[in-house]
C-alpha cells in the first residue's frame, strides 16, 4: 500500500515538474528578470521615440509594496516576448488580476464610468491615486493614500474642494495628526466613490459622523429630522444639510453655517421664513441635560413618573380584576349556573 502511494507521488511530481520545462523548451524563452529590464529601464538616457525617458526608479520600486514581485507579473505580455527592446505599445496593466474585489468595486464608481463610458480620460484609474512603481501601503505616511495624504491626492483633481476642506475643523484635526479626523475617503469611500445624496449614504453619514460625535448623533435620532432620516426618507435634514460637508466649522466661527449669524439662513434653506425664535430649536437635544434645556429635563422627569405610574397602577388593577373575575366564574360554575 505504502509502496503504491510512493509510486503515485513520484509520478505526480514528475508530471508537474516536467510540464513547464517541456513548454519552455519548445516555444517560450525564460521570462526576463527584473535586472534584465533595468538594463534599459534603469538608464535615464534611454528614451522612447517621442523623447520621453523610459527609466524606472529601481530602488523606489524595490522599496515599494510590489518590490518582491517581478516586472512581468504586472507587465504580463512581456513574460512571453522574445524580442528586446520590446515594442512601445504594451497591454495595459490589469491591477484587478490580483486585486479583483477592489477592481469590481471600482468599476461601478463614478471615476470608472467617467473613464470607460464617457471617455473622460482625466478621471482616475488605480495608478492615478496609488502611483505606479512606487506604490506604498496606506499605513506608510509617505504613501499617496496615507490618511493625511488623501486630501492632497484627491485634491490633484478636486482642487476647489480641497481648498474648502483645508479651512475646515476636520483639516485642523488632521494637521494635528488626529487619526480620527475624516478625510475624503471616509465619507465618499475610496474605490466605490459612493454617492452622498442617496438614502443609504445619508443614513451611513449619520453613523460616520457619529463615530466621533457620538452623543450628538444619538441625540439627533431623537428628533424629527433624525427619525425621518432613520425611516429612510431623504426629505429631512441630516448632519451635512446644516453643517455643510467639506468646510465644516465650529459654531463659534462666524463663517460656520451653524454660527448664530448664519443659523437663520441655514434653517431657512428648508424652513422658509425661519426667524430668530425659530432657530432656538435644539437639533440634538438631550432631555437628561438640565443645563441644555430645563423644560425638556422636567418634561422627561414628569413622564418618567406618569407613564410607569399609570401602567403600574392599572397593571395591578387589571391583574387583580382578572384574578377576581376568574375566581368568581369558577365559583359560579361550581354552583351549576
Amino acid at each position: 500500500m505504502r509502496t503504491l502511494f510512493s509510486v503515485l507521488l513520484i509520478a505526480a511530481g514528475l508530471l508537474l515538474g516536467e510540464a513547464p520545462l517541456a513548454v519552455a523548451g519548445q516555444s517560450s524563452p525564460q521570462p526576463p528578470a527584473n535586472d534584465d529590464c533595468l538594463v534599459c529601464h534603469g538608464d535615464p538616457e534611454v528614451k522612447r521615440a517621442n523623447g520621453t525617458p523610459v527609466a524606472v526608479n529601481g530602488p523606489a520600486f524595490a522599496a515599494s509594496r510590489h518590490g518582491p514581485m517581478a516586472c512581468v507579473d504586472c507587465h504580463a505580455d512581456l513574460a512571453t516576448t522574445t524580442e528586446f527592446p520590446h515594442p512601445e505599445a504594451l497591454k495595459k496593466v490589469d491591477c484587478a488580476s490580483c486585486h479583483g474585489d477592489i477592481g469590481a468595486t471600482y468599476r461601478d464608481s463614478i471615476h470608472a464610468r467617467a473613464r470607460e463610458q464617457s471617455g473622460l480620460n482625466v478621471a482616475p484609474a488605480c495608478a492615478d491615486c496609488h502611483g505606479r512603481h512606487d506604490i506604498l501601503g496606506k499605513a506608510d505616511p509617505k504613501s499617496r493614500v496615507a490618511h493625511a495624504q488623501v486630501p492632497v491626492t484627491c485634491g490633484v483633481c478636486h482642487d476647489g474642494i480641497r481648498r474648502r476642506y483645508e479651512m475646515s475643523a476636520h483639516a485642523v484635526a488632521l494637521k494635528q495628526a488626529d487619526p480620527r479626523a475624516p478625510v475624503c475617503s471616509d465619507c465618499h469611500t475610496a474605490h466605490a466613490i459612493r454617492r452622498t445624496d442617496t438614502d443609504a449614504s445619508r443614513l451611513g453619514a449619520t453613523a460616520e459622523c457619529g463615530a466621533c460625535h457620538q452623543s450628538v448623533a444619538e441625540a439627533f435620532t431623537r428628533t424629527f429630522h433624525g427619525k425621518v432620516t432613520q425611516l429612510g426618507s431623504a426629505g429631512a435634514a441630516a448632519c451635512a444639510n446644516c453643517h455643510g460637508a467639506h468646510d465644516i466649522l465650529p459654531a463659534s466661527d462666524p463663517a460656520s453655517t451653524v454660527s448664530p449669524q448664519k443659523l437663520q439662513a441655514t434653517c431657512g434653506s428648508c424652513h422658509e421664513g425661519a426667524n430668530a425664535s425659530f432657530v432656538q430649536y435644539d437639533p440634538h437635544p438631550d432631555p437628561r441635560d438640565y443645563q441644555r434645556s430645563a423644560a425638556l429635563w422636567w418634561a422627561n422627569r414628569f413622564y418618567w413618573v406618569l407613564i410607569p405610574g399609570c401602567f403600574g397602577f392599572f397593571g395591578v388593577h387589571s391583574l387583580l380584576w382578572f384574578w377576581r373575575a376568574k375566581r368568581d366564574a369558577r365559583a359560579n360554575q361550581g354552583r351549576g349556573r
Binding site: T221, T223, F224, G226, K227, V228, Q230, L231, G232, S233, G235, H271, E272, G273, A274, N275, S277, F278, V279, Q280, Y281, D282, P285, P287, S293, A295, L296, A299, N300, Y303, L306, I307, C310, F311, F314, G315, H317, S318, L320, W321, F322, W323, R324, A325, K326, R327, A329
Partner: protein, 293 residues
C-alpha cells in the same frame, strides 16, 4: 354624559317583564347616538394616528419602514396622520362645545355633578377603594353609577391627551407661525411631549382600556355597548347596581328601556369591535417588541 331624566317619580316602578315563558331580554339605553358617533370617530382617528405615528416614534425598528410603506411612505403616512389629527381635534372641539351648549344654553342639569356626570366625585374615590377590597375578597362589588371611576379616568385621559398632543402636533405642523409666538425650544418640548404622551395613550388605550372595557372575564372578547348603545337589564343590574337602583327609584328605567339590538346592529358592533381590537393589539404588540427588544 347621557340624559338623566329627572321626571316625576311614577308610583310603582315595575321591573320590566316581557313575558313569563322566556327570560326577559330587556335592554336599557346607555349611550345615545351622538356619544356613539363621537366614540367611533375617536376610535378610528386614534387607530389611524397610532398606525402612522408609531413608525416615527420607533423609527429604528424594522417594522417601522413596513408600516410606513403601507401608507405610501413617510410623506403619505404624514398626510394621513395630519388628516386624522385634524379630524380628532374637530371632533373633540365639537364635543366640548356640545357639552357647554347643553349645560349653559339648554340648561341641562347633572353634567358637571351628580350620578350621570363625568366629573370625578368623592363617590369615585370611595368606590376605587371598595373595588380593591372586592378584588381581594374583602367586600362586595361597589354599586357603580352611570360612569365608574376607570371610565372617568379614560374620558379625562383622552380629553387631556388630545388637547395636549393636539397643541403639540399643531406646533410641529405649523412651525413658522408657531415661532412667531413661541420660543424655538418649544419645538423640542412639543416633539418630546407628543412622543411621551403617545406612548402613554397607546399603551393605555390598547392595554388598560381594552382590558377594562372588552377583554376582562365577563366581557371577553368584547363589549359592544358602545356600538349598539344599549346594555341588557341583567348586565346593568350586575355591573352598575347604583345606577339600576336609581333608575328604578326615579322611574327613569321605563323611559330608557329599548328593544335589544337587532342582529344586524349587533353584528356591526362585533365587526367594528373586532377590527379595532385587532389593530390596537397588533400596534401595541409592535410597540412592546420595539421597547423590549
Amino acid at each position: 354624559m347621557t340624559d338623566a331624566v329627572p321626571g316625576p317619580p311614577p308610583a310603582a316602578p315595575p321591573p320590566p317583564d316581557l313575558g313569563a315563558a322566556h327570560p326577559p331580554v330587556v335592554h336599557v339605553r346607555r349611550f345615545d347616538r351622538p356619544t356613539r358617533r363621537l366614540h367611533l370617530v375617536v376610535m378610528v382617528t386614534f387607530l389611524g394616528l397610532s398606525a402612522t405615528g408609531l413608525p416615527l416614534l420607533f423609527s429604528d425598528a424594522a417594522w417601522s419602514r413596513v408600516l410606513t410603506a403601507l401608507f405610501g411612505g413617510f410623506r403619505g403616512a404624514g398626510l394621513v396622520h395630519r388628516f386624522f389629527g385634524a379630524t380628532l381635534l374637530i371632533a373633540v372641539a365639537w364635543h366640548v362645545a356640545n357639552v357647554l351648549w347643553r349645560a349653559f344654553v339648554r340648561g341641562e342639569r347633572g353634567l358637571f355633578w351628580g350620578p350621570t356626570s363625568m366629573v370625578p366625585q368623592p363617590r369615585d374615590a370611595v368606590q376605587l377603594v371598595q373595588q380593591f377590597a372586592w378584588f381581594l375578597g374583602a367586600g362586595p362589588r361597589p354599586r357603580f353609577e352611570h360612569f365608574a371611576y376607570w371610565e372617568k379616568f379614560d374620558y379625562w385621559a383622552v380629553l387631556w391627551g388630545t388637547l395636549l398632543m393636539g397643541a403639540a402636533g399643531l406646533i410641529l405642523w405649523f412651525p413658522q407661525p408657531a415661532s412667531r409666538v413661541l420660543p424655538g425650544w418649544m419645538f423640542n418640548l412639543a416633539l418630546f411631549v407628543h412622543g411621551a404622551e403617545a406612548t402613554l395613550a397607546i399603551g393605555f388605550i390598547f392595554v388598560v382600556h381594552f382590558f377594562n372595557g372588552h377583554l376582562r372575564p365577563g366581557k371577553f372578547p368584547m363589549d359592544t355597548v358602545i356600538f349598539t348603545g344599549s346594555v341588557s337589564d341583567h348586565e346593568l343590574r350586575e355591573e352598575r347596581a347604583g345606577e339600576y337602583a336609581r333608575l328604578v327609584e326615579t322611574g327613569a328605567l321605563a323611559e330608557l328601556t329599548v328593544p335589544p339590538p337587532t342582529a344586524a346592529v349587533s353584528r356591526r358592533g362585533y365587526a367594528i369591535g373586532t377590527a379595532g381590537l385587532t389593530i390596537g393589539v397588533a400596534l401595541v404588540g409592535l410597540m412592546l417588541y420595539a421597547v423590549l427588544r
